[in-house]
């Protein structure tokens, strides 16, 4: 199930629940799969100094990011017994309450998917050049930093 060339994992705007459903439905033909694990990152309406985050505008060094995603993908297939793996990240504006990251791993056995999903999400947070401008309700902004 490995791909040799980096794919483009970015999507313009929020990731819809229909898109996620569609992705799940596509796995019904893969009857060797016994367990899926899905991580969804959702934009939080954090309150900072009395101002509420209304949306995050994502940008990325896209070429480098897709290369990194590819490396994470290869590493995950190396470390865990996975049947498939999908990663999607938003670019552009994503409102509070909307989904900006969708990671989906599948395996014959459940024991594999738990460490796999955590590994992939932590790698993304730490090593992929994606940038987020938190835009407050009053239109002012600050730059998000992963912790």
């Amino acid at each position: 199930m490995k791909t040799k060339k980096p794919k483009n994992i970015f999507k313009e705007g929020a990731i819809s629940s229909e898109f996620i459903a569609n992705s799940i439905a596509h796995h019904q033909v893969k009857t060797q799969i016994g367990a899926h694990n899905i991580f969804l990152g959702q934009v939080r309406a954090d309150e900072i100094d009395g101002k509420k985050v209304a949306s995050i505008e994502y940008t990325a060094h896209e070429e480098m990011a897709n290369q990194k995603f590819h490396e994470i993908r290869e590493a995950a297939f190396e470390k865990f017994d996975l049947s498939c793996m999908h990663i999607y990240h938003s670019l552009g504006k994503v409102k509070a309450g909307e989904i900006c990251l969708f990671v989906f791993v599948s395996s014959p056995r459940r024991k594999e998917v738990f460490p796999a999903i955590k590994f992939i999400v932590e790698e993304i947070k730490e090593n992929v050049p994606v940038f987020g401008k938190e835009i407050f309700e009053d239109k002012s902004h600050q730059w998000k930093v992963n912790t």
Binding site: T59, A60, H61, M64, A65, C100, P129, F131, G132
Partner: protein, 77 residues
């Protein structure tokens, strides 16, 4: 040598520039940083990493690529 410098996120905002071409005569990433700090003094106040041809590099790394990216802290997910 001619370099293309890309600024991302916060760094594009404070330099008011997302991409520029640069004539560079130094050797290492450190030299390049000095050069960029002179051009954009606000860069000094900010935390960033440098990628050369899509790979993160250290201060001692020699500049050989033509694509240099200045990356502020990551915020994916």
């Amino acid at each position: 040598m001619e370099l293309s410098i890309k600024y991302f996120g916060l760094l594009a905002e404070i330099t008011n520039c997302s991409e520029e071409n640069l004539s560079f005569s130094g050797k290492t990433v450190s030299d390049l940083k000095e050069h960029l700090f002179q051009k954009h003094p606000t860069l000094k106040l900010n935390d960033f990493q440098i990628a050369q041809d899509n790979e993160l590099v250290e201060n001692e790394t020699e500049i050989i690529g033509i694509e240099i990216a200045l990356l502020p802290p990551f915020a994916g997910g």
